[in-house]
Point group: C2
Chain length 450, copies 2
Amino acid sequence: MKIQPRTLSGFMELLPRQQMLMESIMRTLRETYALYGFTPLDTPLIEASEVLLAKGGGETEKQIYRFTKGESDLSLRFDLTVPLAKYVALHYGELAFPFRRYQIGKVYRGERAQRGRFREFYQADIDIIGDGKLDIANEAEIPAIIYQTFSRLGLRQFQIRVNNRKILNGFYEILGLTEQAGEIMRTVDKLAKIGPDKVNALLTGELGLSGEQAGEILRFIGITGANGEVLEALEGYRGRCDLFDAGLDELGTVVKYLAAFGVPEENFAVDLTIARGLDYYTGTVYETFMTNHPEIGSICSGGRYDNLAEYYTDKLLPGVGISIGLTRLFYVLNEQGMLNTEIAAAPADVLLLPMTDDLSPAIALATQLRGAGIRVQLYTEQKKFKAKMSYADKTGVPYVVFVGEDEIREGVVACKDMATGEQTKLDVARTLARIQDGLTKRRDGAVILE
Amino acid sequence: MKIQPRTLSGFMELLPRQQMLMESIMRTLRETYALYGFTPLDTPLIEASEVLLAKGGGETEKQIYRFTKGESDLSLRFDLTVPLAKYVALHYGELAFPFRRYQIGKVYRGERAQRGRFREFYQADIDIIGDGKLDIANEAEIPAIIYQTFSRLGLRQFQIRVNNRKILNGFYEILGLTEQAGEIMRTVDKLAKIGPDKVNALLTGELGLSGEQAGEILRFIGITGANGEVLEALEGYRGRCDLFDAGLDELGTVVKYLAAFGVPEENFAVDLTIARGLDYYTGTVYETFMTNHPEIGSICSGGRYDNLAEYYTDKLLPGVGISIGLTRLFYVLNEQGMLNTEIAAAPADVLLLPMTDDLSPAIALATQLRGAGIRVQLYTEQKKFKAKMSYADKTGVPYVVFVGEDEIREGVVACKDMATGEQTKLDVARTLARIQDGLTKRRDGAVILE
């Protein structure tokens, strides 16, 4: 009796060519994060439930994968932030602050399975954790990292939208609406979906605001334009609330350093409708949208928070971080046909076909090419020539090299460029040069095509 | 009330510097496997228990992390072979054979926790799967991959020991001991530990073999020497059993191609005591030992098998594969002080210290250096100079760059080499060249030191 092989629904399992693209994306993330001085971290996928659920409550507890093993109550991590908080609290004495780490890892949420929703998915997080304090320049650097990351992946049409929670909270304080600020922001968040009239109706209806208050709010979130224009309009509110003024200073600093950080104006916008949750974030907040695909939602979000590890330690550990939902992003890019299947998606650069009984010359050639950094697959199966070439086609290998009696006698190798069909008979050094040249050109492409 | 932060026992969680070394090892493995045409694979950590336990029974079921979520009976993978079998059976029609894949991933076994034993650990596997058949040249290539992998990691004193199950099974067939072969091999396996006399006593005692049979066995496993000598001695048994003869031919082929594959004689030995389990392997088997640390046991093992996915499909899928227990290897290397802490263990190449109120010039310099591939951390916290330099020491960053009013006016930057203490004031281009030069020299080192 055979067991039917299957992969659980909600769990992404890629075929080799797609996996190569995913690896390419991960490599780009690792390299980009490293450029900004982030250190890689790897924490267990399983933690004590008590530790993971220290904050407790809400959706988290319902979705979590929780189980017992022996006497231990264990859970799979549902994000990378809680394990980071545990890590920093636990290893506090051995870390240097600010502590900058990136982590690309799988997390688990038992959501209802539906198309494009995953129960096991990669998150790619970066965070900068301060000890007691953290300078605003760190918040200013985040848009540069987001910009570099997506640019290096090949994305062009995207915008990083930034706001500051102090500005929002300060504004509602000015209106005397501090206690209702949470509810109001949730309502205002619907602006793009339902329009200003319906937002106005909700504010004055359900939330019981005066027409004047609702008008102030709509006027405020209606402030748009170039970054300079938005900042100038916000200056009009200065002097009425310390929190607001502090937030405006911070936002000004973030905008001021954009150019020095190499972020083009068109990839960045101050957007007063961005709020990002209600309690956790306390300063700059970030969302990132693909300009031509607003329906996808934010592909990279985060913000400044004041206290990373309050459930584990009395130490004040403020930080700023962003997260990419990598599995979902990959899924979406694939659905949109935006992945560049031309680049390095084959497992080898060269398929080497020995045409002699004694494989020694072919093996020695494979060893030589590998020594030069060429990825070589030696194909020695007893198949017809046609089947061998069909294998080359199927794997997408760019070059096929043949080593036969004639070639060995003449001191050359035959090499076929599978893209052009062109075949050469050159000595090893010149064949190698030709292959290296071709590979360099192929590797130019980015993984995302727009 | 605070929750005590902790990491579960049996779960490795590294500090940043060690994590960097682990990343370096993983990068070397990925690059080496890719050179041989292996494609990366990533499968879910959770599978349906029915699928994962298709083979069932034994230690596996006791150690497995198994739980229910909703109505699903789920398990964490305990190795990477069963998920590979599922993957190949499930995606059979979409793969090109031979299918060569590598996978570096975490697996879970609820073993009793003790020093150096892990419940969550990385395995690094490569396998080559054929469709119906698989040529012996693939088995001959494996020692080359093992040799390259450990050489690139910096290991020198290691030996790949190889045997062939057909030779063993054929030999016991010649002696008329086929049914007892399993028990005999388990006993013979103790040779290095308990010596030939005690093995002889066990064979003639517990196992009830004749003195003559035991003598034949001890003579056989006593065949040692250079590869050519061992093969010659084995020729003396030829012609008495087809299975033995086939195994001897295969072993001869593996040895024949070693030189062409670039494996030095001293890193390879035919070893008739290597057996590797009883049922699964059917051809060449491999173990790898650190010559100066035999107590560690094999650090890379595997072999040829005839039927990868028999529990899922009628397709005959023979293969050959090897596995490195990466977490344990890392633990052991660390314990032995064999990890090279000199190499790239800092999260950044340059710590950039702005000495001006306006950070723009420092940020622009950071952006420029990053554009040249230098990993730069901008340090903007309001701390005393001494605290900043102590941060540089703690993170191990090799260069500190200062940008002050004087430097900006003179068009230079100050750069301190933290290893030598030498400080330069040069323009950006020359500072960059100096840093790049120094980094190139640093990166020469391998991650393992012997």
